[in-house]
């Protein structure tokens, strides 16, 4: 009997040890360094600083959460620094954005970080909505089918987040000339208002604030949204603009069938990387499970906090934040893109825009 009891106690003890236990982790008196590979005041910086005080509150031991800005190389430098220097002790986390993920997906030789190796803690989605100038007589996506006129789109560069709109326009069969050199979506929107470009998209917070008034004044016609990924990984409509079709629906409206093929697969992957899981927080490779669990738990509590929800709704567009397994599942859709689809995209960039990744 005693032997059995001992064995049982032993088994229970083992079970306790084996299950990643968030409560044995304690960061009291320590500082968590959150590397943000972007400038102070930029979108990702604001995002991180919105989260930081809540993470401070909910991480065990209430450690200081300090943002360390490391801009440079389009966020590649910060990523590389994280890859080579961060220790798996839970004291360093990395915040990536679409512009960090894209070079990674495009096999940019300068990239030394590998998202496949890092545990993801949480991710923040964002949506995008496309709109067109009113003078073309287009009232919705259905009218686009007959449009033969060349449209102009203000682009930052063919390997930036613009891959998503450019490829989307291509899939829809629009004749769009990409005008390169604009410094971001803000100048792009101004160029739209000036008539310098005729079709544009904005991320949801910017669309809500700046484009909706234009639509109301009749100076812009909304076309579609890229869509959003639900918790099971399906493409649905963007909750911020539920009346707008997502890209798949738009295609179906125009051509009567669902989109498919390498272009669509590539688009979906880059859309997820650039929007559905745009910003994400990572821990270094080989971080012990308890530490990952502690960070995930803090993120869960943050997302559930009504004060955070208020702030998130106001500044991040009110999308459901993805935490832990949901985040992993979503990002896996990005990581598991078949090589041939990625290669299709690289080839598309080369043939259409004469761009090679160096």
């Amino acid at each position: 009997m005693k032997k059995l009891q001992c064995v049982l106690v032993l088994l229970i003890a083992l079970a306790f040890i084996a299950v990643p236990n968030a409560f044995s982790v304690d960061f009291s008196g320590k500082t968590i360094e959150w590397i943000i590979p972007f400038d102070v005041g930029g979108g990702s910086d604001v995002w991180a600083r919105l989260y930081a005080p809540f993470l401070h509150k909910y991480l065990p031991g209430t450690p200081i959460v300090a943002i360390k800005n490391m801009p440079g190389g389009g966020s590649i430098i910060g990523g590389n620094h994280f890859a080579s220097r961060a220790k798996p002790d839970g004291l360093t986390i990395f915040g990536s954005s679409g512009s960090t993920t894209f070079p990674y997906l495009l096999d940019n030789p300068r990239v030394k970080y590998d998202f496949a190796k890092y545990p993801i803690v949480f991710a923040t989605p964002v949506g995008g909505m496309a709109y067109i100038r009113p003078e073309f007589g287009v009232k919705s996506v259905a009218d686009l089918k007959g449009l033969k006129k060349q449209l102009a789109y203000a682009s930052q560069g063919a390997t930036s987040l613009d891959i998503v709109p450019l490829l989307a326009f291509d899939i829809l069969g629009l004749n769009v000339k990409a005008v390169f050199g604009y410094k971001g979506r803000g100048p792009g929107r101004v160029a739209f208002e000036q008539g310098e470009v005729t079709i544009d998209y904005q991320t949801s917070p910017a669309y809500i604030k700046n484009v909706r008034p234009l639509v109301k004044q009749g100076q812009a016609v909304p076309l579609l949204s890229w869509g959003m990924i639900d918790k099971d990984g399906n493409m649905v409509r963007d909750p911020e603009e539920p009346d707008l079709p997502n890209l798949a629906e738009a295609y179906e409206i125009m051509y009567g069938k669902k989109p498919q093929g390498p272009a669509w697969n590539a688009w979906k992957a880059f859309f997820i990387a650039g929007f559905a899981v745009q910003k994400a927080v990572w821990l270094p490779e080989n971080t012990p499970d308890e530490i990952v669990a502690a960070h995930s738990k803090a993120a869960e509590k943050t997302v559930a906090d009504p004060e955070f929800q208020k702030v998130a709704a106001a500044e991040l567009g009110g999308y459901t934040q993805l935490v832990g397994p949901a985040a992993r599942k979503a990002f896996n859709q990005v990581l598991q893109v078949p090589k041939k689809d990625r290669e299709w995209l690289i080839n598309w960039l080369k043939t259409k825009y004469d761009v090679t990744i160096k």
Binding site: D39, V40, G41, G42, G43, D45, V46, R49, P53, I67, M70, P71, G72, G73, G74, I76, I77, N108, R110, A152, S155, Q156, G157, A158, T159, K177, V179, F180, G181, Y182, K183, G186, P187, R189, V190, A191, E193, Q194, G195, E196, V197, P205, A206, K209, N210, P213, L214, A314, E315, V355, I357, K358
Partner: protein
């Protein structure tokens, strides 16, 4: 009208006012140090506002932005070190004045001009706001290109007798600006595979390297103080009187400042050169420019404070920064949850007015405080330089390192320093190189976009033609007045003709 008084009430409310002053003090404390002013300073101070309540943080932010052009003036005048986003042209005449022992006078004039210029700019701005949006929308890429071109055309004015050297110096600046990532394609130019150069050479390092380093070395070699004369000459009061004497220059240049300032993306970098170039081109007796003509200080300083006010417009109405410091200011607004954009003219127009007047008020306070600081700080120009040198080395190396926090910064500083020193000794105008560097990106980008979008038809646009005309007139006037200078006989000849 009611809006005006409401705004004034908000601005003068103690809580707002105190934070404004706090912002001014913080900005001034950091900004006075060479290399840490301007954009760098704001970037360093910005994290402070996280977690503050919106109204206080807003006032703090405006205070910091307002004082950037003012604090930049100190290193410009005292050592000929251009600021990162303002007070660049001030080095041309400000520093020679300091060398003559008249630093206090230069500073006095500069701050008075800044004060009046800033207030006047705010007034012009308040009046223009209702029509601001359509005006900004008129300036698309082709027009912005012409504006950048106007900026570069002033290189001729700055090259004195040797235009070809000015042209080449500008070329050095342009190529240096092209170094790094190309504006629209993932191409890295002239980087020799170095990660450090991927983003190009930071502006701070170009400024400090080309100007600060050679000056420090030369002063050490000469073994004297900044000022050639052992006692301080005219004081700040004289400077104030000078500024008041030239009030038309102040009004003219601050108008230029506001108007150019409110064009998105470009204003900051060109405005003080345009003001400086303009004042030279429109003056007959220009022998002293570059040698300590007080008007060469008044003109750019009136423009650069007015410009910050003007730059609020694209920042608030379009969410596009009008200048480098505005870019960081915009970041600050986003942090506070204020999303600038077209909705602002209708929904939050009071916020815009609050900002304009807070800026003006902070300006006044900043300028006033700076005038008081002028006297003690200018004492530094008469102490033996070897007492200052090591601290300057500290500040300059430290400030450079903040650019990208890597060793590349320190190495680049040394290389640019050496280049700057050689240019200085052998008569290559460094301001021309600086202008070329600052404008390189704008010139390339806007030309690029214009050609892609409009083919060559962009040149036929009315705005472009108007600006081309202005450039021709300005260059023409420059050459015309230049030719009249050399001999008195020539002047007599002109008199006979008229």
């Amino acid at each position: 009208m009611e809006l005006f008084f409401n705004t004034l009430g908000v601005v003068l409310a103690p809580s707002h006012f105190i934070m404004l002053i706090a912002g001014v003090l913080m900005g001034l404390a950091i900004g006075i140090l060479p290399g840490l002013g301007g954009i760098t300073g704001m970037t360093i101070l910005l994290p402070v506002i996280y977690g503050m309540d919106v109204h206080s943080a807003f006032a703090l932010l405006i205070g910091m932005v307002a004082v950037i052009p003012t604090s930049d003036t100190f290193p410009s005048v005292m050592m000929g070190i251009p600021g990162s986003s303002a007070s660049q042209a001030t080095i041309m005449d400000g520093y020679p004045l300091a060398k003559k022992g008249e630093a206090a006078r230069a500073l006095g004039a500069a701050f008075t001009a800044s004060l009046i210029g800033g207030l006047f700019g705010a007034t012009v701005l308040s009046v223009i706001i209702p029509i601001a949006r359509p005006i900004v929308l008129l300036f698309a890429s082709p027009e912005l290109f012409m504006l950048a071109f106007l900026g570069i055309s002033f290189v001729g004015v700055l090259s004195g007798q040797k235009p070809i050297r000015g042209f080449l110096a500008a070329g050095i600046g342009l190529m240096l600006g092209a170094l790094g990532d190309a504006p629209a394609v993932p191409e890295y130019r002239y980087t020799f595979g170095l990660d450090y150069l991927m983003d190009g050479v930071p502006l701070v390092i170009v400024g400090l390297g080309l100007f600060a380093v050679p000056e420090i070395i030369d002063l050490l070699i000469k073994g004297r103080s900044i000022s050639k004369v052992a006692t301080l000459g005219k004081g700040w009061l004289d400077g104030v009187k000078d500024a008041l004497k030239h009030k038309f220059i102040i009004l003219r240049c601050s108008t230029i400042g506001v108007i150019v300032g409110f064009l998105p993306g470009l204003g900051g970098s060109v405005v003080d050169w345009i003001a400086y170039g303009h004042i030279i081109q429109t003056t007959k007796d220009r022998e002293n420019f570059g040698r300590g003509d007080i008007r060469g200080v008044i003109a750019p300083e009136s423009a650069n404070n007015a410009k910050e006010g003007g730059a609020l417009i694209p920042t608030f109405l379009f969410g596009i920064p009008g200048s480098g410091s505005m870019a960081v200011f915009l970041g600050g607004l986003l942090i506070l949850g204020i999303q600038p954009g077209p909705a602002m003219v209708t929904e939050n127009v009071d916020l815009i007015y609050t900002a304009i007047w807070s800026l003006a008020l902070a300006n006044v306070f900043g300028a006033g405080l700076s005038i008081l600081l002028a006297k003690p700080i200018t004492r530094l120009t008469i102490i033996p330089f070897s007492y200052m040198a090591p601290f300057l080395v500290l500040i300059i190396t430290f400030a450079s390192y903040q650019a990208s926090r890597s060793w590349g910064d320190l190495v680049a500083l040394l290389i640019m320093g050496f280049l700057g020193w050689i240019m200085k000794q052998y008569g290559w105008p460094r301001p021309a190189a600086l202008i070329g560097f600052v404008l390189s990106d704008s010139l390339e980008t806007y030309l690029f976009i214009s050609v892609q979008r409009y083919g060559f038809g962009w040149m036929a646009r009315p705005g472009v033609i108007a600006l081309a005309f202005i450039i021709l007139i300005s260059v023409g006037m420059g050459i015309f007045y230049q030719k009249r200078k050399p001999s008195g006989a020539h002047k007599k000849h002109e008199k006979n003709l008229s």
